[in-house]
């Protein structure tokens, strides 16, 4: 049986940088990657959406604070509210936090240094659309490149999030001073994930690691399942 290519959108904001890499990686993983311009108030017909990394609106005021009010972000919020799959990478994670789709906020790295290197991560949860090809406890190596990646929530909230199984990825080594070493967090429904590491930069062994493909291919699998269910 021919399996259909799921349609996965990638939003380009003014200042997005990793939109093309995300489009390339999704295409390489057998999705139909669809560029979406930030001024689009309505999303095209999509099975999932990716908010890419970069510096939307120059990170003015706070990272993601302005992009949150883009027409496409409003459309993404509606898509997520209907159960649509949304993945925010780096700046995309920051935007999803500012938009209130994910808990917390990303602050300046504790070191005040921009970190740009491969980091080791631990998968905390393998039953999500974004981690179906992983196993809980699995170690992944995926690069980070950010100056504002210190995820913050008050400690009582991080305990609550852990109980609700919303912590999806943790750093397995010091990275940015993130609360409870959280590298990726999902919403209560599990259909929205944000993470600081860049899976789209780790989809081929030539790039040093292809562990990022596990996350993106999980998303492609889940998006394909949704496309088939609706067909």
């Amino acid at each position: 049986m021919a399996s259909p290519q799921p349609r996965i959108g990638v939003i380009t904001y003014p200042g997005s940088q990793d939109d093309r890499d995300a489009l390339w990686a999704l295409t390489a993983l057998d999705a139909e990657a669809v560029p979406v311009w930030h001024e689009q108030r309505e999303l095209p017909d999509l099975d999932a959406v990716v908010l890419p990394g970069g510096f939307s609106y120059g990170d003015y005021l706070r990272c993601g604070a302005i992009a949150r009010f883009s027409p496409a972000t409003a459309a993404v919020c509606e898509f997520a509210a209907e159960g649509g799959l949304v993945l925010g990478i780096c700046n995309g994670f920051q935007i999803l936090c500012e938009a209130g789709l994910l808990p917390g906020v990303l602050l300046r790295n504790e070191s005040l240094r921009f970190v740009c290197r491969d980091v080791r991560l631990t998968v905390e949860r393998d039953d999500l659309a974004f981690t179906g090809r992983c196993t809980s406890g699995q170690a992944l190596v995926i690069p980070v490149k950010h100056g504002d990646g210190r995820w913050y929530v008050p400690w009582d909230l991080v305990e609550e999030l852990a109980e609700q199984r919303q912590i999806v990825l943790r750093y397995a080594e010091p990275c940015n001073g993130s609360t409870a070493d959280v590298a990726g967090v999902c919403n209560v429904g599990g259909n929205v994930l944000g993470l600081m590491p860049h899976p789209e930069h780790a989809v081929d062994p030539l790039l040093g690691s292809d562990d990022g493909a596990l996350i993106l291919a999980s998303l492609v699998d889940a998006a394909r399942d949704r496309a088939l269910a609706l067909a």
């Binding site: 906020v105 070191s111 005040l112 210190r150 001073g177």
Partner: protein, 95 residues
């Protein structure tokens, strides 16, 4: 760009917003500045770095201007998880 006009056709009301990191939020920029000041020989403690946003608001009076600017803070200018804010209205006594 022309300055916004208030309801009576006069100039807009000037406002200043002070945004500060909340107590207990780690502020590595403040710590770095504090260390630099200590290096210069100043005896300082608890340096914290926030933001100043100056605005000119179109509003009938200072009270309305303040209400508007507070809404701006809630919706965009400050993130309540990590920041507190203060609004100052200039030129006219606040009602």
């Amino acid at each position: 760009m022309t300055a916004p006009q208030d309801a009576s056709g006069g100039p807009g009301i000037k406002a200043t917003v002070l945004v500060r990191p909340k107590t207990g939020i780690l502020d590595p920029q403040g710590e770095a500045v504090e260390a630099a000041l200590e290096h210069l020989g100043f005896a300082v403690a608890d340096a914290r770095i926030g933001k100043v946003i100056d605005l000119e608001v179109e509003a009938a009076d200072a009270a309305e201007a303040k209400t508007q600017v507070e809404k701006m803070c809630e919706q965009l200018l400050a993130n309540p998880l990590i920041e507190s804010y203060e609004v100052e209205i200039h030129g006219q006594p606040a009602a």
